[in-house]
Symmetry: C2
Subunit: 237 residues, 2 copies
DNA sequence: TGGAAGCGAGAGCACTGCTCTCGTTTCCAT
DNA sequence: ATGGAAACGAGAGCAGTGCTCTCGCTTCCA
């Protein structure tokens, strides 16, 4: 029993390494349960059972089921965010229409591949659940990709815009978003982008949660049309 | 104890009247619990407690908690549907822009006044929950109001439209919707309407579920702008 | 008027999240 | 090297859940 910490693989002690491993195991199993049965069915005891642990042992690692859910939320946001970032980067950066379409398809594809995860982050908050600030950074990744796109869209091509100046509050909010993202998107472009962002997720929600039932199944053609329309609204067609 | 069924108020027997009353009571209490704490917290036992009944007694009236939730879902759809119908009827039928705005505001106002009900019907389905057909008719009421509007929008004014013909599948789906609603809306108008429908509910979901947090609070100006843009897309401005 | 059906109460089952205690193991500072 | 402190896992237990079953009682209807 000499030299427990000399091997190069883990400079940490036995405890720390075991803890890290168990945390990873819990996360892995929790994610598989989430993917299979949804957040509502996620059971601390079931996870413990699968790990061969007493349920009480898990509370050494997570203060509550909500905390576990919060971590799953963050991971879901990050997974979606990464998909979208990759999709945006995978196409010609200057072909803004294609870039927008790629982003939209990434969101929809990820949501269809991970419906319970999507429901967890964009469906009704599981309980009175006040989203902790931890989740916000990850949640913003998709928004960031879109705002970066908006910053590249030329303002003079916009097909859909209001004639007069924007409402003062709106200008402040949009400007703050620009500042937060470190870009300087035209506000008319940006506000259209925000609205198309809502449209994108409204569409995916409708598709996954059944509002298109008996009407737009499959919804592929409708989705492509919606993207086409959005590109036209931006003046990118 | 003579003449129990002769009074004009209730031709039915004692049993039937008591049953109807209790059903109404359960529904009333369930709705108040839903409005206060959300669907996830809805407890059959808590309802029974408030009624002074054993929890088992409620199972004479509802086969399961899910069945109770289903009824709440239907009631929520109907309530929202009625609000929207009233809003659409409250304005000049020929002022299509105002009619559209009135519909949108009705949806948003109802959702903000009844967030848990909105989450119940447009958030993630509570469980694996396959929406029974009972709910569909009620769910269609909002869609119907919008499709009726679309049928009145002149096709030649459309600002946002695709140049070529629509995808075949899409044409079939849109035509089926027309048939189902008994109208003959122009398909380019109709598809835009569907997409703006998704946008409307995407917006409200974002607002209620926190996606606009730290960015568009309040979201009034953004909402008004979105409606304005939609009206322009329809060519109604 | 008597059998059938509907009803409410209560006990009970299997499950949940979570807490507390207790003996053991690991760690870290002396 | 060793002893105290901290971390750990197991297990019992609590309060709560949805739901089932049985048992008397009441209402109904033929």
């Amino acid at each position: 029993m000499v030299d427990t910490d000399s091997p190069g693989n883990a400079p940490q002690g036995i405890r720390a390494r075991a803890r890290a491993e168990l945390l990873a195991d819990v996360s892995r199993i929790a994610r598989s349960h989430l993917a299979e049965s949804g957040a509502a069915q996620l059971s601390v005891r079931a996870i413990a059972r699968e790990l061969g642990l007493a349920s009480s042992a898990l509370y050494r690692y997570f203060p509550s089921r909500d905390a576990l859910l919060t971590q799953l939320i963050i991971e879901a946001y990050d997974e979606l965010g990464e998909s979208v970032e990759l999709a945006a980067a995978a196409v010609d950066r200057d072909d803004l229409g294609q870039r927008f379409g790629s982003i939209c398809h990434a969101v929809r594809d990820w949501a269809r591949a991970n419906p319970h995860e999507f429901a967890l982050i964009y469906g009704s908050p599981v309980i009175g659940y006040a989203a902790p600030d931890d989740t916000i950074a990850s949640a913003l990744r998709v928004a960031r990709v879109l705002i970066d796109l908006a910053a590249d869209v030329p303002a003079d091509g916009l097909v859909l815009r209001t004639p007069g100046p924007l409402n003062n509050t709106l200008v402040e909010q949009l400007t703050a978003a620009n500042v937060l993202a470190g870009v300087d998107a035209d506000l008319d472009v940006l506000v259209l982008g925000v609205e198309l962002w809502a449209q994108l997720f409204g569409f995916v929600s409708f598709e996954l949660f059944g509002s298109f039932k008996n009407a737009f199944e499959p919804a592929d053609a409708l989705f492509d049309h919606q993207i086409d329309m959005a590109i036209r609204a931006f003046g990118l067609a």
